[in-house]
């Protein structure tokens, strides 16, 4: 694992700890959707949607091979679409909790590698600054 890649893991795990504080699959998917939207929007400013779409497509392709349950994630011009994933009511929390960080780390790693890590600090910041999802235990019990 490269130095950058371990940093991606640290940032993503930090996010996950906060996001997974909620105890439902739905809540975790919602948190992931917000987080990825933040990463997308930040990258989009520099790379544009066509380039970004091509990269995210490949990230999802790789992720789906390892986590087939993520096959329903779709990328479009406006970012990642989690509607179909959310519709899978049979998905367990642990399955999602394993696949979602992989997508985020893979995205940060590939994007970092392709852009000489220029965007990495900004993307890490986006992820770290993600607000705590509504309905999480932390929010219920401040």
């Amino acid at each position: 694992m490269t130095g950058c890649e371990s940093k991606h893991h640290v940032v993503v795990n930090g996010w996950l700890q906060r996001a997974a504080n909620g105890d439902t699959t739905e809540a975790l998917i919602g948190a992931f959707e917000d987080a990825f939207a933040a990463l997308w929007d930040r990258s989009h400013l520099t790379l544009g949607e066509t380039t970004l779409t091509a990269i995210v497509e490949r990230v999802l392709h790789v992720a789906t091979k390892q986590f087939p349950q993520l096959g329903s994630l779709k990328v479009s011009a406006s970012g990642l679409n989690c509607h179909e994933l959310r519709a899978h009511t049979d998905l367990r929390l642990d399955q999602i909790a394993e696949g979602i960080p992989f997508v985020l780390v893979e995205f940060l790693t590939v994007l970092g590698k392709l852009t000489a890590e220029i965007l990495t600090p900004a993307l890490h910041a986006e992820l770290s600054n993600q607000p705590i999802p509504k309905g999480s235990r932390e929010e219920e019990n401040p």
């Binding site: 694992m1 490269t2 890649e5 959707e33 917000d34 939207a37 933040a38 997308w40 929007d41 930040r42 400013l45 520099t46 790379l47 544009g48 066509t50 380039t51 779409t53 091509a54 990269i55 497509e57 490949r58 392709h61 790789v62 479009s76 406006s78 970012g79 679409n81 509607h83 893979e106 790693t109 590939v110 590698k113 392709l114 852009t115 000489a116 890590e117 220029i118 965007l119 900004a122 986006e126």
Partner: protein
Amino acid sequence: MKKPDLHTPTSERIPAEGGRNRRLTPVPRNYGRLEQLYEIQTVLARSTSIEQDNGEFLSIMTRGLRLRTVVLLDTTAELDRTFTWAALGIGSAEIEHARDEARKALGYLARASAAPAAVVRRSELLPGGAVEQKIGDRAFVTLPLVVAHSGAFGVLQIEGAAALDERDLLFISAVANQLAIALDRQHTKLQLEAARAEAEEASRSLRDLQAISKAALEGSTLDESLTAVLRALSATFGTDVAAVLLMKEDGKTLWRRASIGLEDTGDTEVLVGSGAAGRIAATRSVMFFDDLDEIEGVNPALLKGGIRSLLGAPMFARNSLVGVVHVASRVARGFTHDELQLLQLVADRIGTIIDNATLYEQALSAIASRDAVMGFVSHDLRNPLNAILLSTRLLPADDPRFAKPVAIIKRSAERMLRMIDDLLNVGSIEAGRLSIETHPEESRSLIAEAVEAMQPAVSEKSVRLKTRLPAQDIVVACDRGRIMQVLTNLLTNAIKFTPECGSITITVARSGTEHARFSVEDTGCGIPEEDLPHVFDRYWQAKKTSRLGTGLGLAITKGIAEAHGGTVSVESRVGLGTTFSFTLPLARAAAAPSAHVDAQFSEHQASLHRAGHRTGHRVLVVDDEPNALAALAFLLKEEGFVVETATDGCHALPKVLEFRPDVLIVDVEMPGLKGPDLVRKVREDRPELPVILMTGHSDHVIATAQMELRASHIRKPIEIAELVSAIDRALEKER
């Protein structure tokens, strides 16, 4: 024009899909590069070839960015090219490393379907510690070249001489997008040009194929067609030689059926598996030989002809190998893939032509065999029929005990005779040799004769037979005998299908300015609409008939009408009746009718006159059918002739010398010395002896014999009155 204010931050919150809000961070932008971007855009917009313009493109890039290396990978189905730029002092190992990085990135980014071989494992894209160490502080920005709705077809990789920031990344991203659009446009253009070239080539091949196919149709025989095809083939391919070799029945040898450009050296065969054509036949695939000298077993004719290069294709028909077609050249040359494909198409067509010709020859042979069999069968059937019909004349006609059985025998024999005639007629019609001798004939007279002939059947069935004739008679050009056959066929059918007390109407009227239309209308059961297209087909019979007949009557009617230049038609309504019509050409105004009835009357008068001179005239009758011979002899004696008989040609010869006949009557088909051979021998001593041939053969056989032997003829079964008339005419001529 006011320039866009790129300083203004993008809206901080924009609605996202699903109603979620996204938080945006303004990105610092660099206006200094805007000008460069415009320049690059201008260069790329007018660029028709990135090979030519990449220098200008890179020089603009390097103005704004301090670069170490630039790698551009462009790969599509048609292209796979790499452009690399490196700053001075960069070593080749570093350049190669930069290229590797670009290839790995493309391998990750390209869709599996677009570049399956290029896809690399993640570990290769994101190398482990060792590789990371090797890379050191080199920083590559590698962005996909991609346009909307397609996978990455290339990458633009920039390595900065100093650390790159987000402004640089924004600039590189914009350049990559411009580059992707320009390259995609060039790809599309190249694809269009390739498609256009392919279409033009296909069009040229199609024209060539059409020319060759047209040549195939020009020949009237298979040899002519093949020669024409080979000539066209040789011209299309620009070769000296073209040849078609066919597979022998043993499946092991090919023989040259047609060729151009090859001398006939007698070497026309080649074993399958040997030489060029033999190898093509063995592999059943298109093959090209660039130097025949190096091939074993090549046909000596090709080597003698100085042939070097050969392109050949197997010919198939109905999934079987029928041979090989090849073109060959005296100079060493190559052939394009398109030429190869064209030859295979031509080979397929020649295979079909040969197959069709073979089938046609087999069909002709089968028809000839059938005609021969029909000829013999009809002859053999006519002989006993002749005996039956002649013998009925010997029975006492005035004895009421025999009247009915004799009538039955006669009617049955005559029906059998009509069936034999039908079969012979159909054979003649199909072979296009139905003999028609047209004369001007009055339509009233034709109809009157037909009505008279059908009167007994009409009376028996109790139907009314009416005629509807024009005030002014219409004269048509026709063969009276044949048209009587048509009219009696139609009337027989009408009587058969009209119920008792029904009616049949014969009509004749002008049809246009050149034809007359004869119609036979009945009030019978009618013909279902679905059957109407088939009524003139051979062997078609109405379902309600009891199959009394051959089913050939209407086919013969059609054949006879068409042989006259006329047409046939049918109209029918089930339950109401049917109308059959045929047309005949009008006779020319100057021609006079044959006055058939008058002629018959004159002939009768002459016959009576001649009868007075028959006494003592000697007739020798030769026939291998003893019953018919005996009956004929008896009837001729009754007519006043002195009759001698012989049962074959050998017995007849001495009798010609001893008996000294005034007339010789000979059956054509006899065992041993046949009728015509007997006549030839008799002619050696008595060249002027009148001869009458009796035959059951069809018209064209009679015509041939008659012309060669200077004999008249009479068809079996023999009508005694007709034979007596023939004898009288022969005696008259001799006098």
